[in-house]
Amino acid sequence: MPKEVMRREAADNVYLHKDFHGAMSGGIQYVHDRYGEEAVREYLRQFAEAYHAPLKEEIRQRGLVALAEYTEKIYNIESGEIEIEPYKDEMILRVAACPAVMHMREHGYPVADLWVETTRTVNEQLVEGTPFAFELVEYEEETGRSVQRFYRRGT
């Protein structure tokens, strides 16, 4: 058999490796099993504070419209079905089914016991230090269907 060669450039493919959801889930379960529930939240707060620093600043400057734009972008990439009701002081996000949970269920990846914290803790930390707060109103573990509410503190 002659030598086989595959040459690819980044532009040849779309960056969408959904198995990373399974790897994320495995990491969360590892931290949970080894260090406990609060460690999972501590890790996710550390991630959100570092990664979302520019988005947090956008939210401070432009309000919930910045969050709505970001949310539409990532759910569009993941082909997730969502509805957003953005208002000046409140944003309701309805997620029909979490694309990450659905991918893991379809491909046999275990969903971490505290997977919900990738939404709750990350979003809480995202708006920490801004005029807004976060509430996870509804969450269904099997599909990740959720209703999420961001609102101006004190309203």
Binding site: M1, E4, R7, N13, L16, A23, I74, A100
Partner: protein, 146 residues
């Protein structure tokens, strides 16, 4: 939701978190845990197809990760190689200039794959000397063939 396109910075922060808990040892322990528990697909492909299993495994993952790479399989010479011209993971971390990547972020690849392939009788040679610029290479040799 953390999008799969945001996984790499989350992974990097996980390594930092684990190092705070138990030092580098704890990070390596986690990498070994991933290798033992989440790479059955690579292990199975190599058990079934030999070196070609590496080709089949990375054909899937490197394309989904939109990597800039050259991959070669020479079964007569018993060698498989990946030349990573621009790693999508390290590249993304470098592009997030406001974040500091975990200092040995690229070390996980060597640990993960070596731990699967060496027990199957394959030799692994990783060159991470240019990993700060998102470039590296990984060669797998089957000494029974060459």
């Amino acid at each position: 939701m953390i999008s799969c396109t945001e996984f790499i910075p989350a992974y990097s922060e996980l390594f930092k978190f684990l190092e705070k808990q138990g030092g580098k040892e704890e990070v390596v322990r986690y990498w070994e845990y991933i290798s033992d528990n989440f790479l059955d697909n690579l292990r199975g492909l190599v058990e079934e197809h030999g070196l070609r299993g590496c080709w089949l495994y990375w054909s899937h993952t490197l394309n989904e990760e939109a990597a800039d790479f050259t991959m070669e399989l020479d079964e007569e010479a018993g060698e498989f190689s990946i030349i990573m011209h621009y790693c999508p993971s390290k590249g993304r971390l470098n592009e997030l200039e406001y974040m500091e990547p975990y200092e040995d972020y690229c070390g996980h690849c060597d640990v993960l794959y070596r731990r699967v392939l060496e027990p199957l009788g394959l030799e692994c040679i990783a060159d991470l000397s240019e990993s700060d610029e998102a470039r590296c290479s990984f060669v797998v040799r089957d000494s029974d063939v060459s």
